[in-house]
């Protein structure tokens, strides 16, 4: 079994904040992740039966769509799901070879493919379904937070972000250090009531989801102007004497 690094005060916790108020389910994060990572740190991300029945590939990020509530009061939810980079990830502690590991310096959970034997214990242990089996290589793969982008000195600084964050057309994805209470992502979580997914399970996920904003208040009470008797006989008359100018 694999040990976790000690958690120190001020521990850096890189992760994602995903805004369910603006996610429209367009799948940009999913396919941009796929194209970056296909040729990235964990690539390839193979696709079985790509042009026939049973097509199924490795994806680090998947968007689920479902409905919550009934009728007009209900809501259609688009829910992107990827590794939450837990503080105490079961996928790491369960790993028999040390292939799964959590990095002390930034909290990213990675897999060393050279050590991985594809036993899938990590997939069983992860309650979030974030692990992906590469059946072709026989190893487990997962979201790396684009570790080959976020520190990449060959990329302009503003673009040293996970691919899913940069590409999101509704700017629903944010990346940063959730261990730093002053970071932009921590501020978002505070101000918008960001929440962790199933914290009761005890794995302390780092990623946060922002709930839908309260419906905007248009501020108008229906104005029930009672038509005057004149209006009732001929509503046009009220404009007859209206003096207008250009």
């Amino acid at each position: 079994m694999t040990c976790l690094p000690d958690i120190v005060p001020g521990q850096k916790k890189l992760g994602l904040v995903i805004d369910l108020d603006t996610c429209v389910g367009c799948q940009a994060c999913a396919t941009n992740c796929k194209e970056w990572n296909a040729s990235g740190h964990s690539g390839p991300l193979p696709d079985l039966h790509p042009y026939s029945a049973g097509a199924e590939g490795v994806w680090f990020n998947r968007v689920h769509s479902f409905e919550a509530g009934e009728g007009e009061r209900g809501r259609t939810v688009h829910f992107p799901r990827s590794c939450l980079h837990c503080e105490t990830p079961a996928c790491v502690t369960v790993c028999p070879t040390g292939a799964s590991y959590k990095r002390a310096e930034d909290g990213i959970v990675l897999v060393d493919h050279d050590l991985c034997i594809g036993c899938q214990l990590c997939a069983w242990a992860c309650p979030y379904g974030a692990r992906e089996l590469d059946e072709d290589e026989g190893v487990m793969k997962k979201c790396t937070l684009c570790i080959d982008r976020i520190y990449n000195e060959t990329i302009p600084e503003a673009q040293r972000q996970p691919a899913c964050v940069l590409t999101c057309p509704t700017r629903a994805r944010h990346f940063g250090d959730l261990g730093d209470p002053e970071s932009e992502v921590s501020r978002l979580v505070r101000e918008r009531g960001g929440y962790a997914l199933m914290p009761e399970l005890g794995y302390a996920p780092v990623n946060r989801y922002l709930p839908p904003r309260r419906p905007a208040d248009a501020g108008a009470a229906p104005r029930e102007d009672t038509p005057t008797p004149m209006d009732v006989t001929n509503p046009l008359l009220r404009w007859v004497d209206r003096v207008l100018s250009r």
Binding site: T31, G138, T167, P235
Partner: protein
């Protein structure tokens, strides 16, 4: 789109510690090139990273004005479209019967010889016998010009079955349009009403804008029968019944008028509300504008009586009847408009049941809109000068913005519904004011823009002068013969569809099959999947394409088709001209066509090849230019008959439509210093490439709003050649061109419709918007066919362009019929049941999914997911062919049986004003299939035979442009893109 720069997010992490297992800074690739995406019609800027000649990564261009660095699910999957096994590989000549799929590969020389022979024969005898129709074509300024040079009036792209209702209603009303020609003021709007957007047009700008709106706390109301996509994040979802949006809009108008919550100042200054309309029932001038001796419209001034309507100091009387100097009676447009919409027919109570929206909800929404517009205006401290030369110290706007698209467009009442939305905007003072809907450059344009469509007098070996798709102003401009019969094969610009600005591609094959109005010899199509998802009733299209005459020749003797992929249409053509992918070509997103301008100024862009083709394929535009030269079309050859243009990039740079006006507006002039108008610049494409493959102009802030009446804006637009003069563009509540058609139908004037169309023209060419039930619903039993059936566009797919993509098809490979849970339960239908969907035109079988977020009287499905077995490089057992289905199979291209007055005469299932295909008028009945019928869709057409040279389908795909590892897969290596 919001103008804020791309947010630069601070890098959160300092340099990491040593981790020998991680390479932190691998170079992304060895080359990066900018170009323009074409995974849909949105025209986003992209940066394509290459490594060892393969595509490593495609990302949004952060500097690009359309997408500002973001890229959607389709664009991000471009690698898999580029390398798809479904790509055509070489020119093909049919050797078996049509539809058999028996082809042989031929050389380009042979292909071009054959095409030239067929086309030359037509041009020398009767050029009308060429029907040249293109699909989602972004080079219409070239293709349309080529058709006119050829001399056939029979040209259009796919707009007639896409969005012409939006374009026509907008351009004849406000001089711009929703669609891609306008945009909400995302930075200032406080209330946003979106009608019928099926997740399409304008993809990324809308997504960016919605995020901006929500961040600012604006209210977003989505009016749509289906709660998916954008509607899912709306603050309020109005699940309206399909085809009733116009009634809802007119009820809002009723409420605003009833409560006197309209912007009379805006109406008096910027619209034709004060113009006087002649009241002369049954007279030849009834409903026309009263005009002075100089032809200028007249208004009724409070002090001076009847005067020129354009006077700066007009104090208009808007209500009442006045005697004109010649004694005729006239009323202001406002009077006629208010009278109509204050009528009981448009009261919320009267429309509530039909729309499926309670009356009090309609009243509340009207009150909310009015409150935001009039009690919370947006005031920008920005001086500007109006067309009368008067300086205003600030810009005051009504922050209620509208956007509308497919759910309005795809109905036979869509033109009037869209006009009603524009009327609503005008009443609110919400056209190009701060916080409202705004024109995108090159709009606004005069209403309607001139000149009329070309197409009369086609004769052998002779070009037609002018644009084939343009703007009729009245009966004289229609393309009809002396008897009133259509001149075009699709009957566009005829009495059946006088404002068919985009043509009617959906009727071409049906009309050609019937020889109505005449047979054609060559059908030449580009990128339009007419034997499948682009057709109403694809089975009938296939029947016509394979039908033979008594002499054994095909009914349509020659079919030439160009596409990049093996679509369902390929097997029905005789000659295939294989196109490149979007990453292997030059293109031009031109101001002469559908440019990328924004509210902030003009703009256009190009595609450049980022990779050379690895197959024997050629860009379609290169081929067209070569065919033009071989045929000797005057604009495509020099004096000595040699080709005028080497290829498409040469044409882009050097073609001049008018002196100094060419396909691209940026860096014109010999030294590249001119914009809009200037002599060709041999260095122009390099300048585009250096700038990320786009050019944009930036309007100064005093020109940002009120463009229809902004002196400085109009002067600048004229200088750039965007408008013909600097006159105010007066927004048209009352549409005189429509009234002219109506008068003709009432028996006035030298050109009148044939008798069997008079009642129709008189009814639907109403100068004010009105609502009528979709035409499809008349003549059939809507109690029996009790449900409306529509489609939505899945965001990660664009029409048929997703299924050959190995990544996108994993997201969606089959579609369901979605139905309200309560309705399904009432019909005894459960989740996952197989059902029959029956319409007056036929029936299909599919699988159901019950849901909450859909209007209870509506069923819907995703568009174009179903594929014919064997097409798109997919194995015949793919879910797309087994469980995916097209609603198209139960849509008729013709209206139900017509009145007895015209037996045998059939009319397109389309809007009677614009000819827009009425896809969403469909009515169906849904019943459970028997248990033994479950498991597969119907109809299932026989599998298509793959073309010669089609590559084997890999069992596993390991796309990795890095190719740097020794680590091998356990399975055999079969990788595409090597």
């Amino acid at each position: 789109m919001p103008e804020a720069p791309t947010p630069s997010r601070p890098m959160p992490a300092a340099a990491p510690g040593a981790d020998p297992r991680v390479d932190y800074s691998p170079p992304v690739g060895d080359t990066v090139k900018t170009t323009t995406c074409y995974m849909c019609a949105c025209r986003c800027g992209i940066r394509v990273h290459l490594k060892d000649g393969r595509i490593r990564y495609i990302e949004g261009n952060p500097d690009h004005p359309v997408n500002r660095g973001v890229l959607c699910g389709k664009g991000s999957a471009g690698i898999m479209t580029h390398y798809a096994p479904a790509r055509l590989r070489a020119p093909l000549l049919r050797v078996g019967e049509r539809g058999s799929g028996e082809f042989r590969e031929i050389s380009w020389d042979e292909a071009l010889d054959i095409a030239t022979g067929w086309l030359r024969n037509v041009r020398e005898t009767d050029p009308r016998r060429l029907a040249f129709f293109t699909g989602r074509d972004q080079s219409q300024s070239l293709t349309g010009f080529w058709a006119a040079q050829f001399g056939t009036p029979n040209f259009a792209a796919h707009g007639g079955f896409c969005s012409v209702n939006m374009a026509a209603a907008g351009q004849y009303t406000i001089g711009g349009a929703f669609w891609e020609f306008g945009e909400p003021d995302w930075d200032h709007a406080r209330y946003f009403l979106m009608f019928g957007v099926a997740e399409d047009h304008d993809s990324n700008p809308i997504k960016l804008g919605l995020a901006r709106l929500k961040e600012r706390g604006a209210k977003f109301v989505s009016v749509n029968p289906v709660r998916t996509g954008y509607s899912a994040i709306a603050d309020e979802w109005v699940g309206i019944r399909p085809g009733t949006d116009g009634l809802f809009a007119m009820a809002l108008i009723h409420e605003l008028l009833r409560n006197d919550r309209v912007d009379l100042d805006f109406l008096a200054r910027y619209t034709n509300a004060p113009w006087l309309v002649v009241r002369n029932p049954r007279g030849p001038d009834d409903g026309l504008f009263a005009r002075g001796g100089d032809g200028r419209p007249l208004a009724w001034d409070r002090a001076r009586g009847v005067v020129d309507a354009s006077l700066a100091d007009l104090s208009p009387v808007l209500v009442g009847e006045v005697a004109l100097p010649d004694g005729r009676k006239a009323k202001p447009v406002f009077h006629l408009m208010a009278e109509r919409y204050l009528g009981a027919d448009y009261a919320p109570e009267a429309v509530a049941e039909r729309c499926g929206i309670p009356a009090e909800r309609i009243r509340r929404i009207a009150a909310e809109i009015a409150e935001v517009a009039f009690d919370r205006p947006v005031v920008l401290e920005q001086p500007w000068t109006d067309v009368w030369g008067r300086r205003h110290e600030r810009m005051v706007g009504r922050p209620v913005a509208f956007h509308a698209m497919r759910g309005i467009s795809a109905h036979s009442n869509g033109f009037h519904t869209c006009r009603a939305l524009h009327l609503l905007q005008m009443l609110l003072g919400a056209v190009d004011t701060p916080g409202s809907w705004r024109y995108k450059s090159p709009f606004p344009r005069p209403i309607p823009p001139g000149p009329p469509p070309a197409g009369k007098g086609a004769k052998p070996n002779t070009p037609l002068a002018g644009n084939l798709l343009a703007f009729p102003q009245g009966p004289d401009d229609l393309l009809v013969d002396e008897a009133g019969n259509p001149l075009r094969i699709d009957k566009a610009f005829s009495w059946e569809a006088p404002l068919a600005l985009h043509g009617m591609m959906h009727t071409v094959i049906g009309n050609a099959g019937a020889g109505d109005p005449y047979p054609i010899e060559v059908l030449f199509m580009f990128m339009a999947n007419m034997a499948w998802n682009s057709a109403m009733n694809p089975g009938e299209v296939i029947r016509i394409l394979t039908e033979k005459r008594e002499d054994g020749e095909y009914r349509i003797p020659r079919v030439i088709y160009s596409d990049a992929f093996f679509s369902e249409t390929v097997p029905y053509a005789d000659l295939i001209l294989p196109d490149t992918t979007y990453l292997e070509r030059w293109d031009c997103i031109s101001l002469l066509d559908r440019p990328i301008g924004s509210a902030h100024g003009a703009g256009d862009s190009i595609r450049q090849p980022v990779l050379p083709p690895d197959r024997d394929v050629r860009p379609f535009q290169d081929v067209l230019i070569e065919l033009g030269a071989r045929l000797g079309l005057p604009a495509f050859v020099k004096e000595d008959g040699s080709p005028r243009f080497r290829d498409y990039p040469d044409y882009i740079v050097n073609h001049q439509r008018a002196p100094g006006v060419g396909p691209l507006a940026g860096w014109r002039g010999a030294d590249g210093t001119k914009k809009g108008v200037g002599e060709p610049n041999p260095d122009q494409l390099r300048r585009y490439i250096e700038n990320g493959c786009f050019w944009r102009d930036h309007l100064p802030p005093e020109q940002a709003y009120f463009k229809h009446a902004n002196r400085d804006y109009l002067a600048g637009a004229k200088a750039m050649g965007l408008v013909p003069n600097e006159n105010q563009i007066v927004l048209q509540i009352w549409s005189e061109p429509l009234q002219k058609f109506r008068l003709a139908a009432q028996g006035h004037g030298p050109r009148q419709p044939p008798m069997h169309l008079r009642a129709r023209v008189a009814r639907y060419c109403d100068p004010l918007p009105f609502w009528y039930a979709p035409l499809e619903h008349a003549g059939q039993d809507t109690e029996h066919f009790a449900l409306s059936a529509i489609t939505q566009r899945p965001m990660p797919m664009y029409h048929s362009w997703g299924s050959m993509n190995a990544w996108l098809r994993q997201i969606m490979a089959a579609n369901r019929l979605y139905m309200a849970r309560a309705r399904g339960e009432a019909l005894g239908i459960k989740d996952d049941d197989w059902v029959w969907v029956e319409s007056r035109a036929g029936r299909l079988k599919c699988q159901v999914k019950l849901m909450e977020g859909v209007n209870p009287d509506t069923v819907w499905t995703w568009n174009a997911i179903g594929k014919r077995a064997g097409a798109w490089g997919l194995s015949p057992d793919s879910p797309e062919a087994v469980r995916g289905f097209l609603l198209n199979h139960v849509i008729s291209e013709w209206l139900p049986a017509q009145a007895a007055s015209a037996p045998g005469h059939r009319l397109a299932n389309a809007d009677p004003v614009t000819g827009q295909a009425a896809w969403y008028d469909l009515r169906v009945r849904v019943t459970r299939a028997a248990p033994e019928e479950a498991g597969a869709t119907e109809p299932r057409l026989p599998p298509l035979r793959e073309p010669p040279g089609a590559p084997p389908r890999p069992e596993i795909l390991r796309y990795d442009a890095s190719a740097r590892r020794g680590r091998g897969g356990r399975r055999s290596r079969e990788t595409i893109g090597d």
